[in-house]
């Protein structure tokens, strides 16, 4: 996943990744990444039908684009 992200970023497009495997993602050095803490694969954006939570996470991820650069880091946040 980070390989794809890095390739897109190299083409001049800003990217942000939502990951539920932060250790694995950090090793691959993502340009920007958000880990919603405690979520697992298949639930990257939280619970089924929880539109408010999913939008919150999408907006948090997109907001990383506007924040000071932390290249290679995975930002972990709680959503409970």
């Amino acid at each position: 996943m980070v390989t794809v992200q890095r390739a897109i970023e190299m083409l001049g497009v800003p990217t942000v990744l939502i990951t539920v495997e932060p250790e694995e993602s950090a090793q691959a050095r993502p340009p920007r990444a958000l880990c919603p803490r405690g979520f697992v694969a298949g639930h990257s954006l939280g619970r089924a039908g929880d539109e408010a939570l999913q939008k919150w996470i999408v907006m948090d991820a997109l907001s990383l684009l506007r924040e000071p650069a932390r290249p290679g880091e995975v930002v972990r946040r709680d959503y409970t």
């Binding site: 996943m1 390989t3 794809v4 992200q5 890095r6 390739a7 897109i8 970023e9 190299m10 083409l11 001049g12 497009v13 800003p14 990217t15 942000v16 990744l17 939502i18 990951t19 539920v20 495997e21 691959a28 050095r29 993502p30 340009p31 697992v40 694969a41 298949g42 639930h43 990257s44 954006l45 939280g46 619970r47 089924a48 039908g49 539109e51 999913q54 939008k55 999408v58 907006m59 991820a61 997109l62 907001s63 684009l65 506007r66 650069a69 290249p71 290679g72």
Partner: protein, 140 residues
């Protein structure tokens, strides 16, 4: 002749984001093997192909082919891994400008060399050609 320089894995590529989010078109890229229902299925055992997903579709028009992540959430709401309806909602609220005309998806594969040399460059170029202001990537 020497080989062209390659980006070290210790180096992080970084493109500055300069637009307000409210004026930005967002493209989704996923490795969760999501596709349009009428598109060809992914092979869940391993597949190095990728799919385009029209930006005008909604989650009910999509499905997935996977045997590697928990499906309890996606079987009820594909936005759990591919938030296409949530982007549309954020656009209606004016928090982003909208989605690109296409999103992109790939599936599970262990053919790493082909992924690195063929699939990923193709998919990255296609995503950049969709002219997004930002790309949001999701796994399974």
């Amino acid at each position: 002749m020497e080989k062209p320089l390659e980006l070290s894995r210790y180096c992080v590529p970084f493109t500055p984001f300069v637009k307000p989010l409210e004026e930005s078109l967002v493209c989704l890229v996923t490795t969760a093997a999501v596709r349009a229902r009428n598109d060809a299925p992914f092979n869940v055992e391993g597949d190095n192909t990728w799919r385009r997903i029209e930006g005008s579709l909604s989650a009910k028009d999509l499905t997935y082919d996977d045997a590697h992540y928990d499906h309890a959430c996606v079987d009820r709401d594909l936005n759990c891994v591919f938030p296409i309806d949530r982007l549309a909602s954020l656009a209606r609220e004016g928090r982003i400008a909208g989605a690109t005309s296409e999103h992109f998806s790939m599936g599970f594969s262990q053919a790493l060399r082909e992924l690195r040399e063929t699939t990923v460059p193709q998919l990255a170029r296609a995503a950049a050609a969709a002219r997004p202001d930002a790309v949001l990537l999701t796994g399974g």
